[in-house]
């Protein structure tokens, strides 16, 4: 049987997650338990959601540099308005999602570089977050807290949530017509346009959906940490991009994989724990995390090359 290129793309992320997990279990066998797994992975859930959001933007050949500040902003709204007066909170979220859709349209219509526009927006979201929550605080809405800390039988919540996110987005992006259109825009805008589709609508929808997932990421984050802070998720910008790439996605060409993106996010979260178990001092951890990234990406490049050589033969 011939293996599709999509499946090949998933092999490396899955393998690297498995290797990291095996290494963690070897060093710390007690992690191999319900609580252990939950602790290892529960902070991965908001990262996975943010990664899926970034993946949607990358599927239409853009890059969102405001992901971190936007998730922080959503976290601040969750810890204040959504908790105190849910109606206002929902309205703010709807406005934010509309703003995302508008950004997607503006970037396309005015032919602006997405990096510049989203970099500018990152200051807007950051400023709004500080205005809403000048000092760390707030409280998680009860339902968010309940959802993130619930204990389903046999499998910890973090794993259940990751699987649900992966499957739901896989269906949405890889199986539905809507997902086909989004990836089509990334693959060849002109042919989609020639077939009579409105590129503006598709891009607006892709950005709005990204805004929705980023919002869920902010809510999940507050559900875990019980309070928010204007800088709570700044790392998410780069983590989400790294997660998409680790998961087999590409910067251009509409080549994305939702399951891969979730696996990439889990890998990134696990890499931090792995380095702690290795007793590497926090000063070196960021560098070591970068080294892990480089190794995984180098493996992927190597595999791509092999594939290309095979094809040209």
């Amino acid at each position: 049987m011939k293996i599709s290129s999509g499946a090949v793309r998933l092999v490396i992320p899955a393998a690297s997650l498995a290797v990291l997990l095996a290494a963690v279990f070897y060093m710390q066998p007690r992690a191999m338990s319900y609580t252990g797994l939950n602790l290892l992975f529960n902070l991965a859930v908001p990262i996975a959601l943010a990664t899926v959001a970034q993946m949607l933007i990358m599927a239409v050949n853009d890059l969102d540099l405001s992901m971190g500040t936007f998730v922080s902003f959503c976290a601040c709204v969750t810890a204040t308005f959504l908790q105190a007066s849910p109606a206002t909170g929902i309205l703010i979220f709807l406005g934010a999602i509309a703003a995302y859709a508008a950004i997607g349209v503006i970037i396309y219509v005015r032919e602006l570089p997405a990096i510049v526009v989203t970099l500018g927006m990152s200051f807007v979201w950051g400023g709004l977050a500080v205005l809403i929550l000048p000092s760390p605080g707030g409280a998680a809405p009860g339902w968010a807290r309940w959802l993130m800390t619930s204990k389903p039988p046999f499998v910890p919540m973090a794993i259940v949530a990751s699987v649900v996110i992966a499957l739901a987005t896989h269906f949405l992006i890889m199986r539905s017509s809507f997902g086909v259109l989004i990836r089509g825009v990334g693959g060849n805008v002109r042919s989609v346009e020639r077939a009579g589709w409105s590129i503006v609508k598709v891009r607006a929808a892709a950005y709005a959906l990204a805004g929705l997932f980023a919002m869920l990421s902010g809510i999940a984050l507050v559900g875990l940490t019980t309070s928010a802070d204007a800088n709570i998720a700044l790392r998410y910008t780069l983590l989400s991009i790294a997660g998409v790439i680790l998961g087999g996605g590409e910067f251009v060409g509409g080549k994305v994989s939702p399951i891969g993106a979730v696996i990439g996010a889990l890998t990134l979260a696990l890499a931090g724990s792995f380095l702690s178990f290795m007793r590497i001092s926090p000063d070196w951890q960021i560098g070591a995390q970068g080294a892990i990234l480089i190794v995984v990406l180098a493996m992927r490049l190597f595999l791509n090359r092999l594939e290309k050589r095979e094809k040209s033969r």
Binding site: K2, S5, G6, S177, R190, S191, V192, G196, G253
Partner: protein, 487 residues
């Protein structure tokens, strides 16, 4: 009678005029396509074939003239054209490479809605592929990326002919067989005949004249944005078609430098891809690279350049200068001044101890400004303040100001007005007389006729060498269109 004809009309474009800046792409063209006929469209590069296709499929709005679909002139645009059953297979592949075959069907057929569209799309494309290319062996579940180029083209053709709901009324095929082998091309042509017999219409563009002559009912020949012949295919043969494409009246004589061949060649290249003729250029010659666009001329120029210059580490003294064809893509530095754009290639000669000598740079700029008449009050103005033709002059001056003895030119006169062209031709002549060698890829026949010697390219290789008085439009056309069946 008239009403009946109007009813059978699938698409009619009447009095269409389109101009891109100073260049007239279409100059009052009439093209009517009826149901149940296959119209062949031929012409040299820049004749306006792609432009008229874009007007018909709604991608381009003409400045003058009317396009009507099925006799009605209501609206214009991609959506209108598609609603009237116009489909197009473009020369460059226009599938989404990251999607699977059935997902591409979904994109091309917006009506394919609802649950279970995947299996219906798969069924549709499988049936159509089987219809056109029996025994194709394409796996319709695979990603387009994983298919070979011929397979991609087959899939694209099948998707365009596939009818979901209503079958297409007009399918425009722009070089559909360019990456198909002879067997597949024959299957394709046979299918076109069947499609036309069932009442469909096809507009076929191809550089393989045998294909057009055997398949089309009627052949339209275009030249310089106008229709110069519109005749039944039965009345034509390869020779008369080539003659119709050429311009016999305007055959001018140019002064050629004659026997310039002396000594050893300054540049040479083995036959490309192991077939065709070898390339050689001598001192003081203007060598033309002719043939239809995209048949390997640019690649040949780049290989010539790289043969004297490393891909990794640029040589300290350039023997070769390169004038790029696509100004905005790889010619100008849009944010820089005219002077900086001009002097960038000769900074090595203008600097002493790694610092640029500003007075010398200014002198160089002024000298060239006067010599080739760059129309600007101040060389410090931004390059984009110039017209396209003047920008191109600056790029010429950039190459000529270097000490390079050989200049490679990649169709640099695209979209330049006639006056500027004449001025540049003068400069080329005088520079060649003083011993410079020019290797000039051009898609315009007037420019090719200026050359001392011409190599005609087809399908990546050199198929003919014409020298001196042999350089005529007729000979170039005859060599660049293969007369036979699919090559």
């Amino acid at each position: 009678m008239t009403a009946n004809l109007m009813k059978n009309e699938v698409v009619a474009a009447r009095g269409i005029k389109v101009a891109f800046g100073a260049v007239k792409a279409l100059d009052g063209i009439d093209l009517v396509i009826h149901a149940g006929e296959c119209v062949g469209l031929v012409g040299h590069n820049g004749a306006g074939k792609s432009t008229i296709v874009n007007v018909i499929n709604g991608g381009l709005s003409p400045q003058e003239g009317v396009v009507s679909y099925g006799g009605e002139t209501s609206g214009h645009g991609i959506a209108t054209a598609r609603a009237n059953g116009v489909r197009c297979v473009f020369q460059e592949l226009s599938l989404c490479p990251n999607l699977t075959v059935n997902e591409n069907v979904r994109i091309m057929h917006p009506d394919l809605k609802g649950w279970n569209w995947r299996s219906r799309a798969l069924e549709l494309v499988k049936k159509q592929l089987q219809d056109i290319f029996p025994g194709h062996g394409i796996d319709c579940d695979s990603t387009v990326d994983d298919l070979s180029i011929a397979e991609r083209q087959m899939v694209e053709i099948a998707i365009s002919f596939a009818g979901f709901g209503a079958p297409p009324k007009l399918v425009i095929l722009d070089e559909p067989t360019s990456s198909l082998d002879a067997g597949l091309a024959a299957q394709m042509m046979a299918y076109i005949r069947r499609f036309v017999a069932d009442g469909g219409a096809v507009l076929l563009i191809s550089h393989i004249l045998g294909e057009i002559l055997s398949t089309a009912d009627r052949i339209v020949v275009m030249k310089d944005g106008r229709v110069v012949a519109d005749r039944l295919a039965l009345e034509l043969n390869t020779r008369s078609l080539v003659e119709a494409m050429g311009n016999v009246v305007r055959e001018q004589e140019y002064l050629r430098s004659g026997a310039a061949r002396s000594g050893s060649p300054v540049l040479s290249m083995a036959p490309r891809r192991g077939r065709g003729l070898a390339f050689e250029a001598y001192r003081g010659e203007i060598v033309g690279l002719a043939g239809l666009g995209g048949h390997g001329q640019t690649e040949a120029l780049l290989d010539l350049y790289l043969s004297r210059n490393s891909n990794w580490w640029p040589a300290r003294r350039d023997e070769l200068a390169f004038v790029a064809g696509d100004r905005s893509l790889n010619g100008t530095f849009p944010l820089w001044s005219i002077l900086k754009n001009l002097s960038i290639a000769s900074l090595q000669d203008l600097s002493s101890r790694t610092f640029i000598d500003n007075p010398r740079e200014n002198r160089l700029g002024l000298g060239w400004k006067n010599r080739i008449e760059i129309r600007t009050p101040d060389l410090e103005n931004r390059i984009l303040s110039l017209s396209g033709g003047n920008q191109q002059k600056v790029l010429f001056a950039r190459a000529l100001a270097t000490t390079a003895r050989t200049v490679l030119m990649d169709d640099p006169m695209r979209g330049v007005d006639v006056g500027t062209k004449q001025e540049v031709y003068e400069i080329l002549r005088s520079e060649a007389a003083s011993g410079r060698t020019f290797i000039w890829y051009s898609t315009e026949m007037d420019e090719i006729r200026l050359c001392d010697r011409v190599y005609v390219f087809r399908e990546g290789g050199i198929v003919a060498e014409l020298a001196g008085d042999e350089v005529t439009e007729k000979n170039v056309l005859a060599a660049s269109f293969s007369a036979g069946e699919a090559a």
